[in-house]
Symmetry: C2
Subunit: 144 residues, 2 copies
Amino acid sequence: MEVKNKIDETGHERLVRCGIRPSVQRLAVMNYLMENRVHPTVDKIFSDLYPSMPTLSRTTVYNTLKLLVESGAAIMLTIDEKNTRFDADTKPHTHFMCNKCGAVIDLNINPPILRGNYIDECEILNSELFLYGYCPECANKNKN
Amino acid sequence: MEVKNKIDETGHERLVRCGIRPSVQRLAVMNYLMENRVHPTVDKIFSDLYPSMPTLSRTTVYNTLKLLVESGAAIMLTIDEKNTRFDADTKPHTHFMCNKCGAVIDLNINPPILRGNYIDECEILNSELFLYGYCPECANKNKN
DNA sequence: TTCTACTTTTGTAATGATTTCAAAAGTGAA
DNA sequence: TTCACTTTTGAAATCATTACAAAAGTAGAA
């Protein structure tokens, strides 16, 4: 079985590879994303980093995440209607969101890779497969 | 070839079938969605209906769309990061958004139907396949 | 080292979508 | 017609995100 979420780069290496100058703040956000694979929201990232970086600004987190996504160092997920979420895993994979607790989880099924195809004359560049339902914990609670 | 977006119900029938009392405003929103299959945003729906219903409130459009989605009379799409979009077609189908002009289009490919399956112990209730790229018009413009 | 130009961060204010809420209007049955 | 209930309305509040300009940081040249 494939190792899930394997990362063979440090945050610093990822930034440099993607052409991003590694400032303290950018490194903190990049490392946070690589170490916390729960698809965190902006607010989660900010409030987790803030205690150890009390001068950190929310705007910087927004700026940095935008830069990471534009440079291909992370991806943005719109699976959660309420908040944008971010993921350091840039390889195509499938996401699941629990309707009850809101957790966003990576699933071990491959999404259809359609990049480069034309469907109904539309040129496909990328695809997202989002699944919704109950996560293992909430599915169990539901049975009782 | 399958007829795309075939509708065999009136807006009134759809509301009743879904257990929604058909007020003037609800009927207007339901009919608008059934007649305008472009996955409109809340604001688009409101501003198109407003001229012929000058007492209509934006809040009513929000309330009504929420009710339609909860009752299964429409679906909500998070394909567009900026605005929630709505679709009267509740059958599983695939959506495409143009990276350039922002148009959201139905595609003639079937998304994987996973309802009822368990994947990585997650109970799947529904799925969304979102594709991004260039729509026919924008793909052509790109070539010049 | 100091100067200078450039990049990045910061905090506040603005924006825009959505929700809250309570009053007003509408509806339907007795 | 009254009464209880549902729905609509519009204003205010909320919340995520963006704009912006000042402050801070950085790095190379003199």
